[in-house]
Symmetry: C2
Subunit: 154 residues, 2 copies
């Protein structure tokens, strides 16, 4: 799985080699995201689902009839980006659009039965992914990490 980096022992602690970049918080956020992304993709390969797709289905399940614009706001996506996510899920019949009765400008989003079944599988896969991620932290550290990350994105 892991690519061999080099021959000497320093390879396992490349901090020294990163130089000034190592002091940049944003750099570590990006590397951590990349690591999480890769493990997610491995864990979800059998379902062929991305983080965004799972997050979107999860939220639609929790908020049946949510509009595209509201879904996008929760996941910090603009309208066009939200379209691509929803389109892909609709093409696979995991999600359907309905015109909102109260406001005809809006699309009300609902999971289909296959969508709900896949989401259940996705939640199981996500538990394994989360376990991989949390394995390196104590519960208190997890809480602290989430609190710090929330300050960045909220």
């Amino acid at each position: 799985m892991d690519a061999p980096v080099s021959i000497d022992a320093k390879a396992d602690q490349p901090d020294d080699e990163l130089g000034g970049l190592n002091g940049i918080v944003g750099f570590h956020v990006r590397l951590a995201h990349g690591a999480v992304y890769r493990n997610f993709m491995e864990t979800f390969a059998h379902l062929d689902l991305t983080q965004k797709q799972v997050s979107a289905m999860w939220l639609v399940a929790d908020h049946p009839g949510i509009s595209q614009i509201a879904l996008g706001q929760l996941l910090r996506m603009d309208r066009a980006t939200t379209m691509t996510i929803v389109n892909r899920l609709q093409e696979r019949n995991y999600l359907r659009r309905e015109r909102s009765a109260s406001d005809a400008r809006k699309q009300a989003l609902y999971l289909t039965d296959p969508g709900m079944a896949v989401l259940a599988e996705a939640k199981t896969a996500n538990a394994a992914h989360e376990a991989w991620l949390r394995a390196r932290f104590t519960p208190a550290e997890v809480e602290k990490l989430v609190e710090l990350l929330t300050r960045i994105h909220e």
Copy 2:
């Protein structure tokens, strides 16, 4: 700048609306990364540089003659991905390739003079970006955050 999320006060604290997703560490990593990404892009718009491009130039400057494979390993990219980054920088004359004298399979990478000049500007822009990011933390919190993130990506 900020998109209005909704009318009521809950909009500023969407944690409640995220439901079960809010307890997922990986979800917060992704949202934080997105927020960092967007601020980076705003801050670097005048230079037309991405995080990956800046990181690559920074590392080449710190390691003149580094091979593509080694650069990719430091930034956690495979060979093909590294190619696209290096190609783009080379097309803009920020970076040049040379065959390694010691191992003809390898390309030795060097910044050009324009590349060094742009990197200096990029470091200035990055200082502003980092200030934006660090503004919400104490120095001790920054240290803790970096330590926790490092455990994810190392």
